[in-house]
């Protein structure tokens, strides 16, 4: 106490008090003001949009227009959403080849995931659309596989086959095989309905439904899937089975018959 009272008249006391007061106010402000972090996010977002815009101008604008408004060579991207970009670019379908067939096939992925995210951020900034799903949306945790199978057979199998091996559509178009497609991309495809596929928004297939379907496909059509009966022969049904029966079944039979007939009992030469 003595010390404090002795120094309160010190010429620097006012300065010290002022400093303490400033530190306290600043600290409190820093602690209670949330705005600064949001500010930082905004900056990152606008940075991503900026970067995405640059990538877009190089890789996409020639077909989709400089502002994403579309052209005779490509549809408008206003309102397609980040999920669409993540799907189309993330599976290598975009950028499309200059001379492609009836539809853009899956091919080599050109952009890194970071670049895809930037492109997605830019396209999302053009107009509201479905966002990229989170890991939780498509992870098999909490999914009902059997229900997913039922939903798959009801909604998807007529084009993609029982277990997602793909099928033909008219005039060279096709429903691709779902083998080796990332769960995220399957989820996004249902959201956005790419190419000839109808879209299944959450009002048609709920988020839980989509999760079930992704989990079903993961169970029956992934690298981990066991085939209890042996070779799957492409999982295409009776056509490949018939071909196998003719070539390896009957083919072997004929080879065996030729072999047996060539080994005849030797009769005495008359």
């Amino acid at each position: 106490m003595k010390k404090l009272s002795a120094r309160r008249r010190h010429p620097l006391a006012a300065v010290v008090v002022l400093l303490l007061a400033l530190a306290a106010t600043g600290g409190l402000y820093a602690a209670f003001a949330p705005a600064s972090k949001a500010q930082a996010d905004e900056t990152a977002q606008s940075l991503a949009i900026e970067e995405g815009k640059k990538l877009y101008r190089v890789g996409c604008a020639s077909c989709h227009g400089t502002g994403g408004q579309g052209s005779s060579d490509g549809p408008t991207l206003v309102g397609v959403g980040a999920a669409n970009v993540d799907f189309q670019v993330g599976t290598g379908r975009m950028p499309a080849a200059t001379s492609q067939g009836a539809q853009a096939p899956r091919k080599k992925i050109i952009y890194t995931q970071a670049e895809i995210d930037q492109l997605a951020a830019y396209v999302a900034s053009l107009g509201a659309g479905p966002a990229v799903p989170t890991t939780n949306d498509y992870s098999p945790n909490g999914a009902d596989i059997a229900k997913g199978g039922e939903l798959f057979r009801t909604n998807c199998a007529q084009c993609h086959n029982f277990t997602g091996k793909g099928g033909a559509l008219t005039h060279g178009k096709f429903a691709p095989s779902l083998e080796g497609v990332a769960p995220k991309h399957i989820y996004e495809a249902m959201q956005i309905g790419p190419q000839n596929m109808p879209s299944f928004p959450d009002t048609t297939l709920s988020q839980q439904n989509k999760k079930d379907i992704v989990a079903y496909l993961d169970a029956v059509n992934s690298d981990q899937t066991k085939s209890p009966g042996g070779l799957q022969l492409g999982g295409l049904g009776p056509v490949s089975e018939g071909l196998f029966a003719w070539i390896f079944g009957l083919g072997t039979m004929i080879a065996v018959a030729v072999w047996v007939a060539a080994r005849t009992a030797k009769a005495k030469k008359s």
Binding site: A146, V239, L243, G249
Partner: protein, 545 residues
């Protein structure tokens, strides 16, 4: 031969056990004379004669494995909730038939292997019958006296198709249910009676609760019973007619050159049975067939792409897929030509090959027995017809899998379908003409070989510088084999006017027959085989090279 003679001699010791058993059986069954006449029956040797055996053995394998499957299969359409060991279907509603098939596949010891053997054997059985039938066709083995046996074999093939179809439908999975729906649609397209037949067959609206149980008794009892009977008849007739043989030295229309049934063919056939069983078991152990767990239970509101029948019904699928979706609406009724026309063509395609032997025998007018087989080239019109038929069949098979052709060869499904539509009509014509030309070319080649010998590949230079290839004369055996076939002359229609100069009345069928006959055996439709005189002239002369 030596079994009964010893009893009369003085030796009174007991006969060996085997002999006593044989004696006991003969006294009650009278099999001795039957066995004596048949045990040493001679069969000729050729690998293509074993195709029928492949069919017989795979049929036996199908029956054996089928019996095992009936022990666990429940032919019922009552709905149950699946609680078995295949996780992706747990909790799903399904029929008891599907449930028990899953049970066989995952929870019965050896069940999946037996199921796969059963199904693979069925595919191989049908393929075997197809090839066996073609062997008989192309070698002319269907000629008198074997026409009835040809029909037996044909019926076995058709019944095999339907036995296969009903069996394929039993598990009540999404694929087979689609197939049954397909069949129902075909029945519905029949004018007037279609709806009644469908309601009768399914016990009301499709799918109803009855068809699995009904198909089950058809699949395990009715059709296999008929097939077993036909097969026994088929084999008895083979015994009765004796087997045909290819032409060769020492082989005539009145003998059979080969090995006796006992012991040679018993051993061979017995061994071959196990080889066939082994091949089918190996295929079944290597490759899965009809993985119903991946396909899922049948629900009439679900369907999958790539839904095809097993291969032997594939040409029917192709007919439907290739047919444009025509329909006619009259007086409030719809005639679905897009389905009905294929339904009519389906039996016609099969009948075309079945009645061919009768057409050929009518054209030739040949009433003699034939036990020597033709080489396909020596019957160009028949061979060309067979190839044309196979072409039509194969085109439709392509049509049945048009979607897979499209996806796997990166084609448009529409283009594939149009190809099938055109090729179904154009393909057989092209195949007919091409095959006939090839056969005639081969006949010419045979003629050259007989008259000028085999090309030896040795090039000789003559003193004046000319190069010639040395031809080696054929052996007597080869000459015989190449000239053993007989050639018909076209039927003469006779003079068009009678002795009074009045125009003779000719039936239309007579004219047709004469026309067909000259198309078969006319001047440009077969190459006359070299005669002995021609051969002598050319070989004795000194100008030949």
């Amino acid at each position: 031969m030596s079994t009964t003679t010893t009893n009369d001699s003085g030796a009174r010791r007991a006969a060996p056990a085997g002999e006593r058993l044989a004696d006991w059986a003969d006294g009650r069954l009278g099999i001795y004379s039957l066995a004596k006449s048949n045990m040493r029956k001679i069969f000729p040797d050729h690998w293509s004669f074993m195709l029928g055996e492949v069919c017989l053995y795979s049929f036996i394998i199908i029956i054996l494995t089928g019996v095992y499957l009936t022990l666990f299969f429940h032919p019922s359409m009552n709905e149950v909730v699946y609680n078995g060991s295949y996780v992706p279907l747990q909790g799903q509603l399904m029929s008891e038939a599907f449930n028990s098939t899953l049970h066989i596949s995952f929870d019965v010891r050896g069940g999946l292997l037996i199921r796969q053997i059963h199904h693979w054997a069925a595919l191989i059985f049908l393929a075997g019958m197809f090839v066996h039938m073609m062997r008989v066709f192309f070698t002319g083995a269907f000629r008198k006296p074997r026409e009835i046996n040809w029909l037996f074999g044909f019926l076995l093939f058709v019944l095999g198709m339907f036995t296969g179809f009903t069996g394929y439908s039993l598990p009540d999975d999404l694929l087979s249910g689609t197939g049954v729906r397909f069949m129902e649609g075909a029945i519905l397209s029949v004018p007037i009676v279609g709806t009644y037949i469908s309601f009768f067959l399914f016990g009301g609206e499709f799918p109803g609760h009855d068809f699995v149980a009904r198909f089950y008794s058809i699949h395990i009892l009715l059709l296999p019973g008929i097939m077993l009977g036909l097969m026994v008849g088929h084999l008895i007739l083979v015994f009765y007619h004796k087997h045909t043989q290819f032409a060769g030295p020492g082989k005539t229309n009145n003998n059979v050159v080969g090995m006796p049934l006992l012991p040679v063919y018993m051993a061979k056939a017995g061994g071959f049975f196990f080889l066939v069983f082994g091949v089918i078991a190996a295929v079944a152990a290597i490759a899965t067939i009809n993985p119903i767990w991946a396909i899922g239970p049948y629900r009439s509101d679900q369907v999958s792409t790539g839904a095809q029948p097993d291969w032997y019904m594939g040409f029917a699928e192709g007919l439907i897929r290739a047919m444009p979706g025509w329909e006619i609406n009259i007086w409030g009724h719809t005639l679905v030509l897009g389905v009905f026309i294929p339904l009519v063509i389906f039996p016609l395609v099969l009948a075309a090959i079945a009645v061919y032997p009768f057409i050929e025998s009518w054209v030739t007018g040949d009433k003699r027995e034939h036990h020597i087989l033709d080489r396909p080239r020596n019957a160009p019109t028949r061979t060309a017809f067979g190839v044309a038929w196979i072409t039509a069949y194969m085109v439709m098979l392509v049509g049945g899998g048009n979607d897979l052709w499209a996806t796997h060869f990166h084609l448009s499904i529409n283009a594939v379908t149009w190809f099938v539509r055109i090729a179904f009509f154009a393909g057989p014509v092209v195949a007919f003409v091409a095959t006939k030309r090839i056969c005639l070319g081969l006949q010419r080649r045979d003629r050259d070989k007989v008259l000028h010998g085999r090309e030896s590949g040795i090039i000789k230079r003559l003193p004046h510088g000319e190069f010639i290839e040395v031809h080696e004369p054929l052996s007597q055996e080869q000459l015989h084999t190449l000239t053993a076939h007989e050639q018909y002359v076209p039927v003469e229609i006779g003079p068009l006017v009678d002795e009074h100069g009045v125009e003779r009345k000719l039936k239309g069928s007579e004219k047709l027959r004469a026309k067909l006959s000259s198309a078969y055996y006319g001047e440009l439709n077969q190459i006359s085989k070299p005669t002995a005189d021609e051969y002598k002239e050319i070989t004795s002369g000194h100008g030949h090279h």
